[in-house]
């Protein structure tokens, strides 16, 4: 069939989608993905909310029994829960702050015309492409107090120690591993942002007599802010979900020193079979993530308003 002049291909598709006098394009493109999203995201979320309101110990009850807000009350009055929130926040703040500082430095460096730039970019990618569980095992072997390669070298300068043996150093080590793995991610995203800023802007600032610090403060940072917000959002949400590193390196120990929220939720749900309480704990991680996302999105919108 010849297409009438001026009629677009999309229009033809639309014409073909008309069945029984109804245009099916909207259902196809909108409702089906929404239904899939509902099934794989919303249904499990609602079920988790329901579970958090039940008492369900796997080996005691075949099915969950409604218990109201018992799990939530227990959680909010538990010292261990608040300790895990504290661990979570220290981990997230520590790792994201260091990753951002180092990553920005690396991005600024890689944005310049330096020798072997492509080589360095490839090298920096290496930790990022490792699955977190593999990276954690790698560090577990390297951190062994007696036979680990790190202590082998530190022994020469008398700085060898059991890094995972005390609470503060174990938490610092977890942060270090996260920094090692995700700083390249931060650097690459920020580098992409930097490369989108026109060189003419920097040249104009230079012509106006701005020094490197002023250019960074008044040109680079403001123009990079949308990218920075995205990078921080992604990293904070990802850091909130930390699990494999803790599972492999410390199992939440020594004691409960590195027992972040996710790990506590796992412990309660799967090691102690308390599915309801575990669900309540995991929802806290989700609530934190959503709250942070809302703050970031609101900030971006406000900035768009300023623009």
């Amino acid at each position: 069939m010849r297409r009438p002049r001026g009629q677009s291909r999309i229009a033809v598709t639309s014409e073909r989608s008309v069945v029984f006098g109804r245009n099916l394009e909207r259902p196809l493109y909108l409702y089906i993905p929404l239904a899939v999203l509902f099934l794989i995201n919303i249904v499990p979320l609602l079920y988790t909310v329901y579970l958090s309101l039940t008492n369900w110990v796997l080996f005691r009850q075949r099915t969950p029994t409604f218990a109201g807000l018992v799990n939530w009350a227990e959680m909010l009055t538990s010292g261990r829960f608040w300790h895990s929130v504290q661990v979570e926040l220290v981990f997230v703040a520590g790792s994201v702050a260091i990753e951002f500082s180092l990553g920005f430095g690396m991005a600024l460096l890689l944005n310049r015309e330096i020798r072997l730039r492509e080589f360095f970019r490839s090298i920096f990618m290496f930790p990022m492409v490792l699955p977190p569980i593999i990276a954690a095992f790698l560090w577990r072997f390297m951190l062994q107090a007696d036979i680990g390669v790190i202590n082998y070298y530190l022994r020469f300068v008398g700085l060898n120690r059991a890094f995972l043996a005390t609470g503060p150093s174990a938490l610092a080590t977890l942060i270090l591993v996260d920094v090692w793995q995700y700083t390249p991610f931060v650097a690459l995203l920020l580098l992409a942002g930097l490369q989108h800023i026109s060189r003419e802007v920097f040249q104009a600032a230079e012509v106006d007599g701005a020094g490197p610090v002023q250019i960074f403060r008044y040109v680079t940072v403001p123009l990079m802010t949308p990218t920075i917000l995205i990078v921080l959002l992604l990293r904070i949400i990802d850091a909130l979900k930390v699990f494999p590193t803790i599972y492999v390196l410390t199992r939440g120990g020594p004691g409960i020193a590195t027992e972040a929220l996710n790990y506590l939720a796992f412990l309660m749900a799967f090691e102690q079979s308390r599915m309801g309480y575990g669900a309540a704990l995991s929802l806290v991680v989700m609530i934190l993530s959503v709250a942070i996302a809302i703050v970031f999105v609101a900030t971006r919108r406000r900035m768009a308003g300023w623009d």
């Binding site: 110990v57 796997l58 080996f59 005691r60 075949r62 062994q144 107090a145 007696d146 036979i147 120690r161 059991a162 995972l164 043996a165 005390t166 609470g167 410390t250 199992r251 939440g252 120990g253 020594p254 004691g255 409960i256 020193a257 412990l267 799967f270 090691e271 102690q272 079979s273 308390r274």
Partner: protein, 487 residues
């Protein structure tokens, strides 16, 4: 916990009932098996070995004919003991025409997965590796199929050839409830102390430490000359530090609970804050801090056994199966009879308390191929096959009396005083009916709570009295939540 049997009990001394009679008291969980002579390291009954032990394979081949083409899937914790069948799976498939799919994983991950699989009722697995520590939980969940109907079915089991009475009574007991068998044993264990003869000799130690006081003195005498004195488990988890420490707890006169008698007002009231319990935690932690290599606070059995095999420590408290690995030159740098010796876990003021554990193959209640699964289990636990794997692999802890009596078994594992020490450890464990908290479905929860606090004592973050007080409260909360307390 509704089927507790009554038992006499002294209110003045709640410990009197605590372990010896507790197996009877916790009747719904692990009751005394039907077989007689259930103390420790003895077979259920004197079993007569068949003239041709391999005849069981002909029986299994015949019995499997209706199930040819079926596929049996099993899940197991990765260990030398559960791996003992893996090299021979092809032989089973050829013998029976039943396909076998094996799935092994790390202990913690697999136990978690087992709980989820069993509770889901999906029936995706036909055979599961059951540890005595998990057994009560599985029973409470109603997740395992009773095996007696298969044992008693002459079309599926030739009891004489399978030699049911040949299994050690304690393993049958630990894997049974109310006279019903739920898992066929393939492993029995206790813990002993392994030591380096050369280090002891160099430091003039000629007498093995019999008490924990002696033990401390020996550790002091050998520490750093040239090896660190001790390796034991320090990391968190119900099978980690708390498992090793429990022998010390009992030896010092400590206990988990004041009473296991449901009629007592002290029923399952924890007593980890008792001075003796605190003393044992303090002693264990100080021993680890002073005599173990740096970082041992995070060591599980993997790290501590590795350190011993690499010749870094002089004494290790570990499971009896490790004797096979320590003397295996492929795995161990100290695999030499001149270097290795054993002694029992020392005595404390309250005597000696060696632990015991059993593992077995079970059929999930929801398996759809139970008969084929049972044939796999009888093949896996057949005396001739178990004997073969113990000879061909470093796997000494087969729970069969007839295997241990064979000359080539004695020849392979009879280095130094290994067999004698393991026997004495199992006998000691049998005398005490140890590790009763394991027989509560909530053992995992309790073990997790106690182990994290014990780790804080070992790591120096908390004093023993404070940590044990918290452990007491945590265990009380677990027991209360489980509904054991009436008030």
């Amino acid at each position: 916990m509704s089927e507790h049997r009554s038992a006499p009990r002294s209110e003045q001394n709640p410990r009197e009932v605590s372990r010896r009679e507790a197996l009877k008291l916790i009747g719904s969980t692990v009751a005394v098996a039907a077989a007689g002579g259930l103390t420790g390291y003895t077979p259920a009954r004197a079993a007569t070995a068949p003239a041709k032990p391999e005849a069981i394979f002909d029986f299994i081949a015949e019995a499997a004919k209706p199930y040819r083409g079926a596929q049996v899937t099993y899940m197991a914790v990765n260990s030398a003991q559960s791996q003992d069948v893996a090299p021979y799976l092809g032989e089973f498939e050829k013998l029976t025409g039943i396909k076998v799919r094996a799935e092994y994983g790390g202990e913690s991950e697999t136990l978690t997965k087992m709980d989820l699989e069993l509770s889901s009722g999906a029936g995706a697995y036909d055979v599961m590796h059951v540890l005595s520590q998990s057994f009560a939980r599985y029973l409470r969940g109603g997740w395992l199929a009773p095996l007696n109907p298969y044992v008693e079915n002459p079309k599926l089991t030739d009891k004489k050839l399978w030699m049911y009475d040949d299994f050690y009574a304690s393993t049958i007991k630990q894997l049974s409830s109310g006279g019903t068998l739920y898992a066929a044993p393939f492993f029995i264990a206790t813990q002993i102390m392994y030591y380096r003869k050369d280090v002891f000799a160099k430091n003039g130690i000629t007498k093995m430490p019999d008490t924990f006081d002696d033990f401390w003195k020996v550790c002091e005498a050998i520490d750093g000359k040239p090896l660190k004195a001790l390796a034991t488990r320090g990391s968190r988890g119900p099978t980690m530090n708390v498992w090793n420490w429990t022998a010390w707890l009992y030896a010092f006169g400590g206990e988990y609970f004041k009473s296991y008698d449901p009629k007592s007002p002290n029923y399952l009231r924890p007593m980890l804050d008792d001075p003796k319990s605190i003393q044992s935690a303090d002693f264990y932690a100080r021993a680890m801090q002073k005599f173990c290599p740096e970082g041992a606070v995070n060591w599980g059995w993997q790290e501590s056994s590795r350190a011993f095999k690499q010749g870094q420590v002089a004494i290790i408290q570990e499971g009896s199966p490790f004797g096979g690995q320590f003397m295996d030159p492929k795995q161990s740098q100290v695999a030499d009879e001149k270097l290795l010796g054993c002694f029992l876990i020392p005595k404390g003021p309250n005597g000696r308390h060696s632990p015991s554990a059993s593992h077995g193959w079970a059929i999930p209640k929801d398996s759809k191929k139970k008969e084929a699964a049972w044939l796999f289990i009888t093949w896996a636990t057949a005396p001739a096959r178990q004997y073969r794997s113990t000879i061909e692999q470093p796997n000494p802890m087969i729970p069969r009396d007839s295997v241990w009596k064979r000359e080539d078994y004695k020849k392979k594992y009879g280095w130094g005083n290994y067999i004698e020490t393991v026997n004495a450890g199992l006998q000691n464990a049998g005398e005490w009916d140890h590790y009763l908290p394991e027989m509560l479905p909530e053992y995992n929860d309790m073990g997790n709570e106690v182990s994290r606090l014990l780790q804080e004592v070992i790591g120096g973050q908390k004093k023993a009295d404070q940590a044990m007080k918290e452990a007491n409260e945590a265990v009380a909360a677990v027991i209360k939540q489980a509904g054991y307390y009436k008030s």
